[in-house]
Symmetry: C2
Subunit: 368 residues, 2 copies
């Protein structure tokens, strides 16, 4: 709880990111149905016998037609519920039955941001209108999969190609969720714990209200989610499993947090990220025929696009051979995920090696 | 792999029992669709563009209508896919959307087994006929949820009330699955690692062929599943996640296995289980108005029913107050899950305390 996002008063540990997201989904569905019961003048937990019986055979009304809205290009895990909210690569999903849950487009921004303010705003409004449309067309419960009880979004679509959006988009998305009584869920499994220069990447947005759920895993060693009291299922054993996380991993996290604080690693990452971002902008200026869309979500959470998927793969391999490991994501993006202990010195090496790799791969490319 | 069930040549670790079951489901679906493609004269992995595109929006044919058959009273976990195969208590499922997957009745045996051979055989045949019917009515793909690609069963329905079936049932169930080209999946999350007097409880059945999947977790410290080569997805990243289990937990398991072997704990559990079973039979003979259906799945994997849910709860509480913790499951069962280090001495204490608790709760009961 010492690193809980502001305004979030509860935490539930789980083992991994998928189970964090899935249990957050379950809590969102329980809250949504509880609200519906309350609106109908009955108790939040006053289950009918028909609900009890039908739930046991996976049918409504006990197993309701309700859905989670997610974004095209998003990744939230690979268990069945999390996978239904995942839309980054078909290899994750092919041949696996899914839930009839909707997706909406995620903004595709033009860079540099300061030269593309209007076109990016229009792009984000297009995506928000699509979100609004999904909510509205499902409201009556006539569309397969039913009304939207929650919407999950990554601060940066990492698996999907390091796609960013502006604070305007996320603030408006939260407003739509709130207005429709759906949970606003932020998946910080990849963005959480400092790489963005803040403990939680969504802290960059300046949301007027805290999110309803913030899920975490990876760097935090143990999965789980922060949430607000009103999403507590209020009945034992609705959210439950054998291990409910792993206490030993929380001890690891405590030690990691001690080091992060003592060595001021988040402040360091913020400073170091500025060096990385400027270095990438310089490289892009020198090689506009190879690099585009240099972007940063704060800290070292940066990415750049190569001109083609092939050139991206060549750059990736060449950099690896030169001793620098970067990440490939989306069809032609390179993402940077240095550890929190990186300093400007390592960033300069990284930028030098990338420049070298651009040079080394150029003849190869023209030869092909 | 040193404790792999006979004939199972692959293992995949996961973090928990739910993700073990869900990834086994995914592998079963991939095998089923691969077989369908092969039967249609195309390669197992020759995905069409339509499949690729439709999978990304959770629709067929890429996200196919296929299902996992499970049993009423069964418990396989609480993430969305595992939960769709779980039918033990409504509190697990209420308000959570589900997949349209079928369930079949699990045998309800009469005890003592030797006096109820014919009636139990008829009961198991009734359940097998229901299984066969589910396979047949879904074969054409016209029923919502589609054909059955796999069937998952617990050797003992633990959460559901410690319900047992005879080897005849499981052998026939495997035969039905094989005949319909569906995976036969045994969930040993609760029964695995020795408590039944064998490392794996299904080893008691004498199956003519190994199961297609055996899932494990809990006592094994790490989740996962054994499987046979033909269920390998044969393409990278189809079954994948961040941690793919936890190597440190496998080291724990290795030490645990060393102790189990050195101290001959499974042989000890087998002997100790016989003392427990006979002790329970004696108690039942002394208190036929309170206890019934004493049953054993081998080793200390025993259970008994109380006459009413209320008496069960009283017995449970009284035993706890007398210093013995047992498990309550189903509506009126008490299950025994002593550790592998139990000896006849502790079993005698347990039986004495249970006799005392039956005595102590009797006046309470008549007073009510």
């Amino acid at each position: 709880m010492s690193i809980a996002p502001a305004g979030m008063d509860c935490v539930q540990t789980m083992l991994c990111g998928s189970s964090a997201n899935e249990n957050a989904f379950k809590a969102a569905f329980m809250r949504f149905r509880g609200n519906e019961r309350e609106a109908a003048g009955i108790g939040r937990l006053d289950f009918t016998q028909e609900e009890r019986d039908s739930s046991m055979i996976n049918e409504g009304p006990g197993s309701p037609e309700l859905s989670i809205l997610s974004f095209q290009g998003g990744f939230h895990g690979r268990t069945f519920g999390a996978l239904a909210a995942t839309h980054s690569k078909d290899v994750h999903k092919l041949d696996v039955p899914s839930l009839p849950w909707p997706s909406a487009p995620f903004p595709r921004l033009e860079y540099p941001l300061e030269e593309n303010v209007d076109v990016n705003r229009a792009e984000e409004e297009r995506c928000l209108a699509a979100v609004e449309q999904v909510f509205n067309e499902r409201k009556g419960g006539l569309v397969k999969g039913g009304p939207v009880a929650g919407c999950i979004v990554e601060p940066v679509q990492s698996e999907g190609g390091d796609n960013h959006a502006t604070p305007f988009f996320f603030i408006a998305l939260q407003e739509i969720c709130n207005r429709h009584g759906a949970a606003f869920m932020v998946d910080e499994v990849q963005t959480g714990l400092g790489a963005s220069g803040m403990i939680w990447c969504h802290e960059h947005w300046g949301l007027p209200h805290p999110p309803d759920f913030v899920t975490f895993s990876k760097k935090t060693q143990v999965g789980g989610y922060y949430y607000r009291t009103e999403f507590k299922p209020n009945m034992p054993y609705r959210i439950f499993n054998t291990w409910m996380g792993d206490p030993a991993k929380i001890l690891h996290l405590e030690v990691i947090m001690d080091v992060i604080r003592k060595d001021e690693l988040i402040e360091g990452t913020k400073a170091c990220g500025e060096v990385l971002y400027q270095g990438l902008l310089n490289l892009q200026k020198q090689h506009p025929e190879v690099l585009s869309r240099v972007r940063s979500a704060g800290g070292t959470f940066c990415a750049v696009d190569a001109v083609t998927p092939q050139r991206r793969d060549e750059l990736y391999s060449r950099m690896l051979n030169l001793g620098v490991m970067v990440g490939a994501c989306g069809s032609k993006s390179i993402r940077f995920r240095p550890p929190l202990t990186f300093t400007a010195k390592e960033i300069h090496i990284l930028i030098d090696v990338m420049g070298q790799a651009i040079h080394d791969t150029a003849p190869l490319r023209s030869a092909l």
